[in-house]
Symmetry: C2
Subunit: 138 residues, 2 copies
């Protein structure tokens, strides 16, 4: 399951995607719309900005706005950014690899092999769905 952080990020991105004509959107507005804690959401938007998805403007009249095309924001990226690995095991993660303690040898581990396949197929799904697909469904 996705963490609330990621779920909130998706809601925020969706909201921003729906308000691209406005110059900026307040954290407050997104938080209120979805009943999310302002401060918690603030941290999430900050991460999205640092990762290059959002732009922001400080001071009075400031706020956030989307700086990427919705179709250029695949679910895989958002999930990785906020939740970490997409792979089901650390030993098959492309971006967050770590060996598994209880495995003597990865090369002869059937679990490792199957999970690498699962990762590849899962990635295909998540790379092919973007914020645009979410917006299309609203």
């Amino acid at each position: 399951m996705l963490s609330k952080k990621t779920k909130y990020a998706l809601h925020a991105l969706t909201y921003l995607g729906k308000h691209r004509e406005n110059k900026t959107v307040l954290i407050q507005d997104i938080a209120e719309e979805h009943g999310i804690s302002h401060k918690f959401l603030e941290n999430i938007l900050l991460e999205l900005r640092k990762a290059g998805y959002l732009g922001s403007k400080k001071g009075k009249g400031g706020g956030y706005y989307l700086i990427k095309e919705p179709k250029e924001i695949p679910l895989s990226r958002i999930i990785r950014l906020l939740d970490g690995p997409i792979a089901l095991l650390p030993c098959v993660s492309l971006n967050y690899y770590e060996p598994c303690d209880e495995c003597k040898s990865e090369v002869q581990c059937g679990i490792n092999k199957v999970m690498a396949q699962v990762r590849d197929e899962t990635l295909k799904i998540l790379e092919n769905k973007s914020l645009q697909d979410i917006l299309d469904g609203e």
Copy 2:
């Protein structure tokens, strides 16, 4: 990512799958083979037995054994049993459904729709991989 519980369950099932000729296998043996805590593994094997994957024999000479064909044990089932939902959001979970607090209406939520698709496609993957596939890779 899978919890350690699920990961250990997969290791245990694999071990049991590789020792089907023996009548029973000791918890201890599996725990030692993978450096897992005996007591933690015990709880896991108990769950697997209650769910109908394993049989057990008490007393001296007892232990656990696989009572299903490895190809009849899809990853989806093991993951659901020990980790819970496969869906990325509670609002699209088939087996553990719960509404999302921050969603006003599921029918007009683009996230919900996309995640339902992701769930369907992910399920296809996990239902098609079984313990047999793991055993084949060992």
